[in-house]
């Protein structure tokens, strides 16, 4: 029993470490700059939360809402298409014995861990030639590839028993019908899990938009909030903190609502 108390104590201390920055961020959103400089661990008095919210909502004619919409577009559409594509690819690996299967699989996995720092620069050159730099496509198109999801999709498809496909085939269903009507319903939980992981991955991706986006109207939140300055070009700490809070809020809400689908995977990355 005494050991349990020690364990609890250690877990509690660690919990403080993991929670502290969230706490500090939240109390930070209630302070103006001079209150931030007071270095207190309590919320600001008077409470400036609404003032800060008004500050970011009206900043540059409400460009914040544009960033928010962009983040949802990039992460929502990007993750959906990426995972749907991966789902189809996974189905092909699961169902068919085709020419080049092994080579293709090794090739796909081999490129799964290519660092974005190696691909983004050539992508920049490619998009520049295609006049796609500083457009939403420059962020969306690379987001459609999520290589590890193909690998994980194959694993999910492998869990669907062979008999289900065989039965459908004997009934004369064609392959597309089998995929949509028989296969997909079995894959939905895995689909949601991978969609969430891809969504978070794109939402949080900073480097790609940093390289391919220049105009504020096309920035996602993670990039936009780093550009907040006053008219003289100095950082405005309270607004950066408040917008940081609103950047992570959708993720935290999704995380809590869809908790049962949330299964962290060993294989993440692009």
């Amino acid at each position: 029993m005494r050991k349990h108390i020690l364990t609890r104590l250690i877990l509690l201390i660690l919990a403080v470490y993991f929670i502290f920055p969230f706490y500090w961020l939240i109390i930070g959103t209630t302070k103006n700059v001079s209150q931030l400089f007071q270095k207190s661990l309590l919320p600001g008095i008077p409470n400036n939360f609404l003032e800060n919210v008004r500050g970011i909502f009206t900043y540059q004619n409400g460009v914040f809402f544009q960033w928010l919409a962009n983040s949802f577009l990039y992460a929502g559409l990007g993750a959906f298409i990426a995972i749907f594509i991966a789902c189809m690819a996974g189905y092909a690996f699961r169902r068919y014995d085709f020419y080049g299967k092994k080579v293709l699989f090794v090739l796909v996995l081999g490129f799964a861990m290519v660092p974005i720092y190696a691909t983004t620069l050539p992508l920049f050159m490619l998009f520049r030639d295609l006049k796609l730099i500083d457009t939403k496509f420059a962020v969306l198109l690379p987001s459609f590839v999520h290589v590890f999801s193909v690998y994980l999709m194959v694993a999910y498809w492998n869990q669907v028993p062979e008999e289900i496909f065989d039965a459908a085939q004997i009934d004369g269903a064609n392959d597309l019908l089998i995929f949509f009507k028989i296969g997909l319903p079995n894959i939905i939980p895995g689909f949601i899990t991978l969609f969430m992981l891809a969504f978070v991955g794109i939402w949080n991706n900073f480097f790609l938009p940093l390289v391919v986006i220049n105009s504020r109207v096309n920035m996602p939140l993670v990039l936009g909030i780093t550009t907040i300055t006053d008219p003289q070009g100095f950082p405005v700490y309270n607004l950066t903190l408040t917008s940081s809070f609103f950047t992570i809020l959708p993720l935290l809400i999704m995380f809590i609502v869809l908790q049962k689908y949330f299964r962290p995977q060993l294989y993440t990355g692009r």
């Binding site: 690819a89 198109l141 492998n158």
Partner: protein, 313 residues
């Protein structure tokens, strides 16, 4: 008559089989087509373009072929090799430390399963869900001398002259930030493997009077070897590619352009306009990453192609 049909079917069988495989291939590639399209245009082609760029010299918009000259220059560029200092520090200090902590925490999760283990798993995992850039903003403010809640404490203790956010403290600060961001995730992954270990492995030892920690380290840890190696590899790759956290810290401390390899690549391309040189460095980074990840890739390929169903947590 029977013999003839037998002979006929025997002769026809290989042909028929081939046909079947051809049909399957057509179907398979139709399902693969969307993926292959984006994979080739957004991953393969950029790499190929990167290879091509790396073989060119460049001044402004003018480019000319120079063979492997860029690579020769990189190998003699001390600034490139210096940029590996932070990754090396993370690899030798942060990664082993984190794996050790995460392993202990995973055992705690198991031990406290009925005493709030789930809540702790949730709390410890939270930092991994938020963008690295927000992590960078919040922690860099927490450590900045104008806003840090630690500042008054240090002043009282008599360190009023010492800056928190000084260049020399940065490795330590990065350590705190990266441990914060990834330990919960790592512990969760280890825990997922831990609960998949059949009870039978520990039951006998339990009967023999072994304690929880004896079972944990003597019996369970060896069974976690695979997942620990894989985590080590992924974290090694993460260490080599660290970018966002120092990028945000740079808003408050002056950092050299080659503070990490990824920062050096970015700055060479976009601050100095040396695109082809940066492309060559990117390829070297990709090659190092690929070599480190070979072990994982080999295992993953084996797992799927032999049809062995992978344990999905």
């Amino acid at each position: 008559m029977d013999e003839i049909t037998n002979e006929m079917t025997d002769k026809m069988r290989p042909k028929k089989k081939m046909n079947k495989k051809t049909v399957a291939s057509i179907k398979a590639y139709l399902f693969l087509a969307p993926f292959l399209l984006v994979f080739i245009t957004m991953v393969i082609y950029p790499i190929a373009l990167g290879v091509k760029l790396s073989l060119y010299g460049q001044r402004g918009a003018r480019m000319w072929y120079i063979g492997f000259q860029n690579f020769a220059t990189i190998f003699q560029d001390p600034r490139f090799w210096e940029s590996f200092r932070i990754p090396l520090f993370l690899l030798t200090v942060q990664v082993p430390l984190m794996l050790f902590f995460a392993l202990i925490i995973a055992f705690f999760y198991e031990k406290m399963e009925k005493h709030g283990g789930k809540l702790y798993r949730f709390i410890y995992y939270l930092p991994h869900t938020i963008p690295a850039i927000v992590t960078g903003i919040v922690w860099s403010y927490i450590f900045s001398d104008s806003m840090s809640p630690f500042r008054p404490v240090l002043d009282i203790l008599g360190f009023s002259g010492a800056k928190i956010l000084a260049r020399s403290n940065l490795p330590l600060i990065l350590l705190v930030i990266i441990l914060w961001a990834f330990t919960g995730y790592t512990a969760f992954i280890i825990y997922s493997s831990l609960i998949a270990i059949p009870k039978a492995f520990s039951e006998q030892a339990q009967l023999d009077g072994a304690t929880f920690w004896q079972i944990a380290f003597k019996i369970k840890m060896p069974l976690l070897k695979g997942v620990l190696i894989t985590l080590f590899i992924f974290n090694a790759i993460g260490a080599i590619q660290v970018f966002n956290e120092p990028w945000m810290l740079e808003q408050l401390v002056i950092l050299p352009s080659n503070y990490t390899p990824a920062m050096y690549i970015y700055n060479s391309a976009f601050a100095q306009g040396r695109f082809t040189y940066a492309a060559a460095m990117g390829l070297i980074l990709a090659l190092i990453t690929f070599l480190i990840s070979l072990y994982v890739l080999r295992n993953a390929t084996k797992q799927i192609l032999t049809g062995e169903t992978q344990e999905l947590p």
